[in-house]
């Protein structure tokens, strides 16, 4: 069974080409093309339908403690009205079973947003971790809403124009939400939520809108000049920003430490799912790590390509690891990749990726690959 977004008819009208991702038929690209959509997000504003992400409502007195036991990060570091990136671990192996964002809407109301294919796994884990004496209400509400990501340096400006037009159906100021903030607003009289989150490396927001009124929201944004962008552009944007994708940089056989995301794990907060396995993994020594690769030309290494030492006499040397994601970087004009490599490989080293049998020379780098908007904002603080 393939799911469709509440926005599907809008995408058809906009001339989208579709692809199935995590069981969802979603826009891959629109007639402008992936490169134009990518550039619109870096330079202006792009709007993405990300309704394939799951939405799991966790509410009630036991919600906080249930989430603390289920995920690796510590909600004690934030407060209601904030969002947090976190991991669900496999209890046996400490592999990352899913990476989620939690929107903390109000005191005892949370929205957990898993990857499309992992929603049922996250619901199951939450159900196992809720306690009998202090139960949490856990409900998959994915089908009730659309999630629209508005990303790019002009994202907030576009949203503001939509709010301030005469007779706007928007109430509230979702464009004012802070980075990693969560706030309510209304669209056409319906309750909606905005979070200062995204997956592009640029500033922007994501809005959860009730399904019945979501098509008008997306169409209004496009009408105000946001460029509709598909999942292909979302992937080139996140790769340039060095952001992991579950099933590639995260998944079976990859722990948060190997993904370079140790900050997502809080050892101070007490027990959490997979804690013991992760502690054993940490004690045994981390042997591999996600690194960036920049190819010398336009051709990118691709997921699954083997990476070998590049300075061996007479050709490729010992195997160092495997490419997890690779694509062309519109920002650099060259091929880029993320790869799970031996921990001994350091930025600046020369390696080769074996691309369909041919050696492609690459340099090891620390992502992000391009100066994204969020990186520039961090540096100017």
């Amino acid at each position: 069974m393939t799911y469709r977004s509440p926005l599907h008819p809008v995408h058809v009208r906009l001339g989208a080409r579709f692809s199935v991702f995590g069981g969802w038929e979603m826009p891959l690209r629109y007639p402008a093309g992936t490169l134009a959509e990518h550039r619109a997000c870096r330079d202006g504003c792009a709007v993405f339908d990300v309704s394939h992400l799951g939405s799991v409502l966790v509410a009630g007195e036991g919600a906080y403690s249930c989430l603390q036991r289920t995920f690796t990060n510590d909600l004690g570091k934030i407060e209601p009205g904030r969002a947090q990136y976190t991991h669900l671990l496999d209890p046996q192996t400490a592999s990352v079973a899913d990476d989620c964002i939690i929107w903390w809407e109000s005191e005892a109301t949370f929205h957990v947003m898993p990857n499309a294919a992992n929603t049922s796994g996250v619901v199951n884990a939450l159900s196992e971790e809720t306690s009998g004496s202090e139960p949490a209400h856990i409900e998959d509400v994915t089908s009730t809403r659309a999630v629209v990501a508005i990303q790019g340096p002009d994202a907030r400006h576009m949203l503001r124009r939509l709010a301030e037009q005469a007779g706007s159906p928007m109430e509230g100021a979702p464009y004012e939400v802070r980075h990693l903030g969560v706030a309510p607003f209304r669209w056409m009289g319906h309750d909606a939520l905005v979070a200062g989150t995204g997956y592009s490396g640029e500033d922007g927001v994501e809005c959860a809108i009730p399904a019945s009124v979501a098509p008008g929201f997306f169409e209004s944004l496009v009408g105000h000049g946001c460029v509709p962008a598909g999942l292909a552009a979302r992937d080139t944007l996140r790769l340039e920003a060095g952001l992991p994708l579950h099933g590639h940089e995260l998944g079976p056989g990859i722990t948060p430490y190997e993904a370079g995301l140790s900050w997502v794990v809080s050892w101070e907060k007490g027990p959490f799912r997979g804690r013991e396995a992760l502690d054993r993994h940490r004690a045994s020594g981390i042997k591999q790590s996600i690194r960036g690769l920049v190819a010398t030309g336009r051709q990118p290494p691709r997921a699954g390509d083997e990476v070998r030492r590049g300075d061996a006499p007479g050709g490729a040397g010992e195997k160092l690891g495997t490419v997890t994601s690779g694509n062309y970087s519109p920002g650099l004009g060259s091929g880029i990749a993320l790869a799970l490599l031996s921990k001994t490989v350091m930025p600046g080293e020369r390696v080769v990726a074996l691309v369909r049998g041919k050696e492609l020379p690459c340099e090891v780098v620390t992502p992000p690959f391009v100066p994204t908007g969020l990186e520039r904002a961090k540096r100017s603080l």
Binding site: R17, L28, R29, G33, T34, L35, A232, D235, T236, G297, R298, Q299, P300, R302, N327, Y328, G335, R356
Partner: protein
């Protein structure tokens, strides 16, 4: 979808144009549209002898990698080196500036076995 009447086509979505004694080769409008933005083209080596149906190069888009097959047997006489820096020509002008290579055919038989525009249109309409 543009399918020029004067060209011949392979079922792998290459086009072939008779150019004197030589045959110019590229990928069709249908193929470039299906691929999306082309970001890298691997061209064949000039002088190489190829058999019809043999892989002579690769076209890589942001989404996928596709092989280019020789529509006829013969010898690669020239390649479009402009594509190395401007692979987007394949999207913008697949039958013109986006040509891939010129093959000197070993015989005339392969050309006669290629699809005409009507047959190719029927193939891609399905």
């Amino acid at each position: 979808m543009e399918v020029p009447a004067a060209l011949r086509y392979s079922s792998d979505h290459e086009w072939a144009a008779m150019d004197g004694a030589e045959i110019r080769v590229g990928i069709t409008d249908y193929a470039q549209d299906a691929l999306g933005d082309v970001v890298y083209v691997q061209l064949p080596e000039p002088g190489r002898k190829v058999e019809a149906g043999e892989v002579i190069g690769e076209v890589e888009s942001t989404k996928s990698v596709s092989e280019i097959y020789a529509p006829v047997s013969g010898t690669i006489r020239s390649v479009n080196t402009e594509l190395s820096d401007a692979p987007e020509e394949l999207n913008q002008d697949p039958y013109g500036r986006g040509w891939i290579c010129v093959i000197e055919p070993a015989s005339s038989g392969d050309w006669d076995g290629l699809l005409d525009a009507t047959a190719y249109q029927a193939l891609t309409a399905g």
